[in-house]
């Protein structure tokens, strides 16, 4: 692999990994937000989000 190929590969792979990581982090925090909002429903005995009744 030449220096040029290595430069392009490192750049593209790093940006791809960071972008995918960001999207996954966003999804995880969205889930976390739904979870902390759920206790009000949970304490009433209603099914928790994502759980089968």
């Amino acid at each position: 692999m030449s220096y040029v190929d290595a430069g392009y590969a490192v750049t593209l792979v790093t940006l791809l990994v960071y972008a995918v990581g960001l999207v996954l982090r966003r999804r995880r925090w969205e889930r976390a937000l739904r979870m902390v909002e759920a206790p009000a429903t949970e304490s009433d005995g209603a099914p928790v989000l994502g759980e089968r009744s």
Binding site: S2, Y3, V4, A6, G7, Y8, V10, T11, L12, T14, L15, Y18, A19, L22, V23, R25, R26, W29, E30, A32, L33, R34, V36, E37, A38, P39, A40, T41
Partner: protein, 265 residues
């Protein structure tokens, strides 16, 4: 019924910017690696220049403008809002990625061109300092504190980044450096390169700028969600504490009441 959900908006334009960024980046790679001719002096090594200067431009100017501008707007009492703090923090994290890539691609170009991976040249050193300052900012942000205190600390830390930006920019003029000054565009804005090379170079700037805007947007959404979860958790724990305290007070009151047949005469 559950409380209404507070979520950051997902603007449609951000998805469009992301798609355009990927397409532009794809074209830059295609043109840069396969279509443009080799340079008369550097040969194929010049192909790295379609990605290295655009990465450096984003890392220095775009990130600098958003991070320092956002921090100054937060510090200014009239415009103080957590929006600016979150935007600045998002820019610094994305900026750290671009700064690291600038150093790596520069090093990959420097090894065959200069004969060394690294030299303590003013441009390289000030760019490495920029990355260190960004990492320091992100470390400071992880120190637990009240959001307003954290925002103020980080805004002050961003001012250090503001000091380094002109150092990086003018390093090739102020010091005698191994790193060359502007080679594609002279002070009269005349481009010294073939047409396909010039267009690929310009497309690289557009592509990395679009990718930066998309990454910044998504990172900002993560920041808003983190704060929303923190606020919700605080509310839940306060409510639980309130319930516990109420139970204790209730229990104490019950305990103080005279038990039947004991305290009564």
């Amino acid at each position: 019924m559950s409380a209404p959900t507070v979520r950051p908006s997902r603007p449609r334009w951000l998805d469009v910017v992301g798609i355009l960024g990927v397409v532009a980046l794809g074209f830059t790679v295609w043109l840069g690696l396969w279509i443009t001719p080799p340079d008369v002096v550097q040969g194929n090594l010049a192909r790295l220049l379609y990605i290295h200067p655009p990465l450096a431009t984003v890392a220095l100017y775009w990130v600098g403008a958003v991070a320092v501008g956002g921090s100054l707007l937060y510090l200014w009492p009239r415009t103080r809002s957590l929006f600016w703090d979150r935007l600045a923090a998002s820019a610094v994290e994305v900026g750290a990625v671009f700064s690291a890539l600038t150093l790596v691609t520069g090093s990959l170009w420097g090894r065959p061109a200069w004969g060394t991976w690294w030299t303590w040249d003013a441009r390289l050193t000030s760019t490495a300092l920029l990355l260190l300052l960004e990492v320091g900012y992100l470390a400071l942000r992880r120190v637990p504190a009240d959001p307003a205190v954290r925002a103020r600390r980080c805004a002050v830390a961003a001012l250090l980044i503001a000091v380094d930006i002109p150092l990086v920019h003018f390093s090739v003029d102020w010091w005698n450096t191994l790193h060359q000054g502007g080679t594609f565009i002279d002070p009269g804005f005349k481009i010294h390169a073939s047409t396909s090379m010039s267009w690929t170079f310009l497309l690289g700037f557009v592509a990395f700028s679009l990718v930066f805007v998309w990454l910044l947007g998504v990172r900002y959404q993560v920041e808003v969600l983190q704060d929303a979860v923190g606020d919700q958790e605080l509310e839940v724990s306060l409510a639980e504490r309130w319930d516990e305290d109420t139970e204790h007070i209730g229990g104490d009151l019950v305990g103080q009441a005279p038990a039947p047949g004991r305290g009564a005469p």
